[in-house]
Amino acid sequence: MRAAGVIAGAIFSVGGAAPAAAQRALVVAPLASLAEHRVDAGFGLERSLGPILGGVATLRSGPRFALAVRALGGRLFGSKGVLDRDVGELGVEASVVTAPWLAFQAGAARRAYATKLGRQTWNMVGLGATARTAFAGDAIHGVWRAALLPVVSVSGLRNPDVAYRTAAGLEYRVRTATLGVEYSLERYDFPAQAGVRRREQLAAVTLRLDVRVR
């Protein structure tokens, strides 16, 4: 909660200081991921793999503040004996740049997994940071992300004890567009129930193209 307060304070202080309508820009980013979902609920490892497509719209207000909305959807094909599942996600994230190399994020997302047998929804609140370093010439940036998900609620399950998301990748700037490639991992460890501990992770390689439209 304290971290949330710090981030919220930073967002509002920076947002308030930014001149109205100054340097406002809209960036849209179609993205494509190859995602692998692994879950172990005590009955052995279930693995599913598939593409996820989507997009992110980011409204930048000044050089430091941004608000992004994302929508993703895809199908994960189960390995032998595992049901295929559809996945969809809607999320919103606010970001504030506190140093040329560091930005903090706070966001919330709602995700749904659907199989032939049922549907499971996840609600997540995350607090994180992104570090960037420019390669000489400023055309390439290395990106490292890490976020804690202190609030995660999953339908039909108790909230996880541990939940985090982490990623590393590169961004290539080509004129006004930016091409990003990133490896990311989400990890959720649920409390044991009846002696069984449920663990889930979602790993993905994502290609993303940021294009400034306004």
């Binding site: 190859l34 692994r38 793999l49 010439g137 390439i140 290395g142 990890r187 992770q201 390689v205």
Partner: protein, 350 residues
């Protein structure tokens, strides 16, 4: 009592000078009155007293010239033409601007005065009066005289430097106004300093020559000028080339991203037996290759186009600002006013 004594002493010291002026002016006034009443025979001795070397009181130049002029006028009335010419010439020699008012003197006197002028060549320049002149809209006027037809050359020169500027060259007879635009021979505004205006005349009647000169100081009145922006030094500009050290750091950064991707994937491989490990390998390889390529490219072509463009923009903005400053300064310089004041002789000037 002491104050009274000092006052008496002071009055005794000042009184003779005032009395001297008063005596000459008084006598000249009496002579004028006698002349006006046509009592020429009584006016003549008074005027002769004033021009006599034995006259004990101070006589100003104008008083002496006036006395000679009236002596000439009285003698002309008395029919002593040669003597009249002689005295008129004495007046003209001392002040070439001397003239007779046709409404106050007879034609015979005027004719005699004209004879004196024909026999005497004298050139002169009126002393420069203090003036504030805008050379864009006004001219400095010098007044020059030649007592009879003469070839006259009027030149302006800076004391101790420069080629003289010829303001007039030609024949003139009498008074002439010469306008000066404030520029020198190179068509530039006259710089501050001391100047000499010289006139040389050669009579076209007698062949005689005469010259005269006056000195004056010129100062500029200019609105304060703005400073231009300083040169852009290294601290104000972005680096336009990537240093070898920065290029080497690219390799480390690429490896850093690669390591992070592999580390994340490694963490995932624990209890859940992997997590898109191939994707992590792809990202890691991409990062490592990107760092290496960036290093190689930047080592060979180290230019940073964005910084080059930003610096060029910065320089252009500075040049534009300086051009504006120079234009404003040029306007101010163009609006320079000339301040003229008389000077006594050659010197360094203001």
């Amino acid at each position: 009592m002491r104050r009274l004594a000092w006052a008496v002493v002071l009055a005794a010291g000042v009184a003779p000078a005032l009395a001297a002026q008063g005596s000459t002016a008084e006598l000249l006034g009496q002579a004028h009155q006698l002349y006006e009443r046509l009592e020429v025979e009584r006016a003549l001795p008074l005027l002769r007293q004033i021009v006599s070397p034995n006259w004990p009181f101070e006589v100003t130049r104008d008083q002496r010239v006036d006395a000679y002029k009236y002596l000439g006028a009285c003698l002309a009335v008395a029919g002593k033409r040669d003597s009249a010419v002689l005295y008129f010439r004495a007046a003209i020699e001392r002040d070439p601007f001397t003239d007779l008012d046709p409404s106050r003197f007879t034609p015979a006197q005027l004719e005699t005065f004209g004879e004196a002028r024909r026999r005497t060549l004298a050139v002169a320049i009126r002393p420069v009066q203090p003036a504030r002149v805008d050379p864009r809209t006004a001219r400095v006027t010098f007044i020059v005289v030649a007592t009879h037809a003469a070839l006259v050359d009027v030149k302006l020169s800076a004391i101790g430097a420069g080629r003289p500027l010829s303001l007039f060259q030609g024949t003139m007879d009498g008074v002439r106004e010469i306008a000066w635009d404030g520029l020198l021979a190179d068509r530039r505004l006259v710089p501050p300093g001391r100047y000499m205006l010289a006139v040389v005349g050669r009579s076209r009647v007698t062949g005689a020559s005469d010259s005269a000169r006056v000195y004056f100081d010129v100062r500029h009145e200019v609105e304060a000028r703005e400073d231009t922006l300083p040169e852009l030094d290294g601290r104000m500009l972005l680096p336009e080339r990537i240093s070898a050290e920065a290029a080497r750091r690219d390799v480390a950064k690429g490896l850093g991203v690669a390591a992070a991707a592999l580390l994340i994937a490694g963490a995932a491989t624990g209890d859940l037996g992997g997590g898109e490990r191939g994707g992590a390998d792809v990202v890691a390889a991409t990062a490592a290759v990107s760092g290496l390529v960036a290093f190689l490219v930047h080592r060979r072509h180290g230019a940073i186009p964005e910084n080059v463009a930003a610096n060029a923009r910065h320089r252009a903005e500075r040049d534009s600002a300086n051009a504006s400053v120079r234009a404003r300064n040029a306007d101010r310089i163009a609006a320079t006013l000339l301040l003229l004041s008389p000077a006594a002789g050659e010197g360094t000037g203001p």
